[in-house]
């Protein structure tokens, strides 16, 4: 019965996944501010719908559809296109959004220079926002647009972006990045840009002062992030975009100062595919471990056993909506840990069998409860972690070598003592008879 029901659930999950581009479901809630026109984002939304997502729109202050019912999320992904909304319906608070993330819902959040509830949420992801009303300004390159509308070159180092995207138009607020290792920087501010509280250059002196003080409190330069992702411990993803116009049709169609088309639509699509778990989504299908020349995992290992550890890893292919074996990880490591790693070894992919990573090693000469630990965390990729507990026990009482050449002195000792005792007993018995006879003869 249990087997049947679990099979049914698996089937359902499979049926659900098979139509979705995302590995985690296709229902999307879009919180669109009433002041924004849906048509202005038609390229972005249209692209999503084309890839199989079902979008549900809702104003920030609407009560329904609720994000969660009884702590169960109703949607797989939520898009916050409400950068200037001062208040939300009751079900949306910074706390509830963190709760959503821990329930594996993905969030795409657009910020703005205004102070909103989402600003304080960003702080929890160690994004440091500038003071309110300080948008990003850049006077380079020379162009006809306002200094807050900036073409930003896309760095190709981020693994989640398609290589070779042309610069994108951006307007909005930058943010500094804290030292949280879960942050995934996607788009950095141009080196010559800065954040200031007015668009004309009246406050320029203050900025010059701040620069001379040594950068303290200075919101400028390429260390600022504009679009930053965040991958939580449970592999749900968040993207904070500094401005909503990044996703707009206007910017997507706008030509760069050089006259070439902007990369906005491609960039927005790349962000969406990442945050909705389409790309760079990996998982550990299974791990196995056994002794060399065996196939079954033993209940416990003996010290100094040769152990074979195998992990099967697959990645999500959004085109076919299937998980495919993935052998592309070259720096996977395995730890065999009891309090501290006793063994740390690389876990290389097995050539010829895709998705399989295997290593053979000798268990340490130490008994205890060990764990096989896989812990692979790379920016942009799903975290892979697995922990399998196995006891490593000393040899059984009959598991030690029976005869040791080093013990020959003891064997000799035991044998010679036995032989000596036997001889002594024999002589004693024989001699006693003689003695008695002698005594008898003496008495006589």
């Amino acid at each position: 019965m249990r087997l049947l029901s679990s099979a049914f659930v698996a089937l359902l999950a499979f049926a659900r996944l098979s139509f979705a581009a995302s590995s985690s479901g296709d229902s999307v809630l879009v919180l669109l501010d009433t002041s924004l026109d849906r048509e202005n984002y038609s390229i972005f939304f249209g692209g999503l719908e084309k890839r199989g997502y079902s979008l549900t729109f809702r104003a920030p202050k609407d009560a329904s559809p609720a994000i969660t019912d009884y702590d169960v999320p109703n949607f797989d992904h939520v898009i916050f296109f409400s950068p200037e909304a001062k208040s939300y319906a009751q079900d949306i608070t910074p706390q509830s959004l963190v709760g959503l993330l821990s329930e594996k819902t993905n969030l795409l959040i657009a910020l703005s220079p205004k102070q909103t509830p989402l600003t304080s949420l960003a702080t929890e992801f160690s994004l440091i926002l500038p003071p309110p009303e300080t948008p990003l300004i850049s006077h380079h390159p020379a162009r006809s647009e306002r200094p807050t509308t900036i073409p930003v070159a896309v760095s190709s180092s981020s693994p989640l972006l398609t290589p070779g995207i042309p610069p994108v138009w951006f307007s909005g607020a930058p943010h500094a990045l804290g030292n949280n290792p879960m942050l995934v920087p996607i788009l950095r501010a141009p080196a010559e840009s800065f954040a200031a509280d007015s668009t004309d250059d009246t406050g320029a002196d203050g900025i010059v002062d701040a620069t001379e003080k040594g950068g303290e409190g200075l919101w400028a330069g390429s260390q600022m992030g504009l679009v930053t992702g965040f991958q939580t411990n449970v592999n749900s993803r968040v993207v904070f975009a500094g401005g909503i116009d990044l996703f707009s049709d206007e910017y997507a169609r706008k030509e760069l100062p050089s006259g070439t088309p902007s990369g906005n639509s491609q960039f927005a699509r790349d962000i969406a595919t990442w945050v909705f778990q389409e790309t760079l989504t990996l998982r550990i299908d299974s791990v196995e471990h056994h002794r060399v020349n065996q196939t079954e995992a033993p209940e416990m290992y003996t010290t100094n056993d040769e152990i074979v550890y195998t992990a099967h890893i697959s990645s999500y292919d959004s085109r076919t909506s299937t998980w495919k074996p993935y052998s592309g990880i070259g720096d996977l490591q395995l730890e065999f840990t009891m309090l501290d790693p006793h063994i740390r070894t690389s876990l290389p992919p097995v050539p010829g069998s895709p998705g399989t990573y295997q290593v053979q090693f000798r268990a340490p000469d130490r008994h205890g409860v060990f764990k096989f630990i896989l812990n692979w965390k790379r920016k942009g990729y799903s975290y892979l972690s697995s922990s399998t507990t196995v006891p490593v026990v000393p040899p059984r009482h009959d598991g030690y070598p029976r005869f040791l050449s080093a013990a020959w002195p003891y064997y000799t000792g035991a044998i010679s003592t036995s032989a000596g005792f036997f001889l002594f007993a024999a002589l004693w018995l024989a001699g006693d008879v003689k003695g008695e006879r002698k005594k008898v003869s003496k008495a006589e």
């Binding site: 440091i128 919101w219 009482h397």
Partner: protein, 789 residues
Amino acid sequence: MPAAYPLPTDLSPTTVANTASLLRIIALALISSAAIASRLFAVINFESIIHEFDPWFNYRATRVLASKGFYEFWNWFDPTAWYPLGRVVGGTIYPGLMATSGVIYNILHALNLPVDIRNICVLLAPGFSAFTAWATYMFTKEMKDESAGLLAAAFIGIVPGYISRSVAGSYDNEAIAIFLLMFTFFAWIKALKQGSAFWGTIAAVFYFYMVAAWGGYAFITNMIPLHVLVLMLMGRFTSRLYVAYSSWYAIGTLASMQVPFVGFQPVRTSEHMAALGVFGLLQIVAFGQLVRAHVSSKQFQGLLFAAVVFTGAIGFFGIVGLTYKGWIAPWTGRFYSLWDTGYAKKYIPIIASVSEHQPTAWPSFFMDLHFLIFLFPAGVVMCFRTLRDEHIFVIIYAVVASYFAGVMVRLMLTLTPVVCVSAAVALSSLMDAYLDPTEPEVEDEKKESSTPASVVAKSSTSTTTPATPATGKKSKKSKDKETSAPAGGVLGELVSNVASSAVAANSAAPTQKGIFGLDTRVVVLLNTIGMLLFFVVHCTWVTSNAYSSPSVVLSSTNSDGSQHIIDDFREAYYWLRQNTAEDAVVMSWWDYGYQIAGMADRPTLVDNNTWNNTHIATVGKAMSSPEEIAYPILRKHDVSYVLVIFGGLIGYSGDDINKFLWMVRIAQGVWPDEIQEPNYFNRGEYRVDSEASPAMRDCLMYKMSYYRFAELFGSQQAVDRVRGQQVPAQGPTLDYLDEAFTSENWIVRIYEVKKDDVLGRDLKIANAFDQGKKRKRTKPTSRRKAISA
């Protein structure tokens, strides 16, 4: 000869003998059933349940043995104990107890008696107490006679000092060890008396059983050599002694080395060196005797002196050298703490923290032994009066055990048997004197009848010393001297001279002792019976009130006098069993490790097998540190739940706050820089109220104990009933732990360790965020280095 009361004369001696032996059998049977019955209070008052702490482990191990067989048990590696170190159970326990239960279990099942293994475990100790009574009977019979033996058996059967460790459910090593102790001693005495290698081997076999059953075997290992040494020094070396000791030591030591936990200790540790040394000395002396028989005595004296000095020096320096080289382990801390009661507190707090390792309080001697403690010295004096080899044994035993019982509460157990034996000897002598119907001859008749023969006859009835008339003895002695040198040596001669002169003195002044009339006898005997009755009443009372509590289940009395059961421990352990993942590691102070493993079946960090001081200190550190320091320790050890015992609500004084200073001390022993005991005091006072020191208020143990405690009292002042202090209304808060379970009377509180924050924040910050607290604005960190001059 006049008699105080008439005795039937028409009985044949065989009838008397048969009736006496029948009565003895009946008496022994009744004593055995009384011994068993008085230990069943625990089962009747509570239920058939395993008691206390260590028995829970023994029970768990026995279940493994019963279900998986002996070899699996021997190779049992317990991955749930001492997580993540694990415990090699087969090599770190004395398997005798479990093996005994396993054998009984298998026999009963072979007989188609499907008895639950738990009931065997619960009832094993009472069952073996019957055997103990029998072994004590046999032992005392060797000291005096059957009647003394019966008295001793009755005493040991119900004396609280032994019952305290052997009530039903107290399934500990001592349950069978006291029987083995007494039987080994009996076999040793028997071997010594008869010079029998057979009895020596039996002693060795039971010694092996004892080694397999209890760490206290070291007592036998040192008692018997000490006895032999004293006998040799008294010049009582005989070939009987040689045969008995050699066969016991050789077979016993080889056998004891078969126990995995003991291994090579008998030849490698200082505790066992006395036995080895005496064995060597015995060989030398035996060889000396042999040489002496072939060499003239003058040469021999010089030879002997040189040889003794030479071999003694070699042996001594050999042992010292080996110890220095590390081949022989030096004395362990437990051993030192036997001589210096302050030693453990200073250097090994983990031993001192156990209540049963504390020095004994005076009242507990009376509590545990009642009037036997008064008869005990009398019995020892009686032994001096006869002073055969076996009496010397009792005297040494009495002296040694008295000392040890004064040092450690738990060693009261080893004192109890010798107290019972000595008291039985004394009481039986008293009864012999007052029950004997013969009255002394009247004064004027004395001179006529006081021939040496009658004196001898008298003395042989009261004591069993083979005393021949003085003159006869002397002549015999001189004859002995002529024919062959007596085996006793110089000292032996001295002793026998003293003995013969004593006999001579006896015959020279034949003052006759005896009791006239029935009234004197009745008064004394009624008093004795009265004392015995009080003894029985006392034993029953102490057993039912003091020693029959399982300590897993507590009981209190309601206002109407009915019994109220407090079952918080089992409630909490079963909560753990039902509601947590099977591999969820539970951290608690080590006292509760065995119970958690036994009842909740969850892995524990530390337990009552306190073999790894560092691991215990780690737990101590976690308990006595602030949350943010404790949390990484908890996570590193995969701890899912933390369990504390808190008695503040109902006044259960054995709780963790009262044990807390030991945790601090043990942690301080390993991390003296981080944990300091004085920090937990406020001006020298141990406080938990608003005056508690900051370290105390911040530590995990305090927080877990008093978390939300004040809320329970509503608007009233919260009071900790154990400490009698008022707890501040604003209780501690927890950021890294969540309260998971609190039992009915708040005795057991279980906290769940929070997982890492989903956003990788510090849990304190995450908690503040969840409670809606605003965070301080942060500024971007400057990536430029400050210009330094």
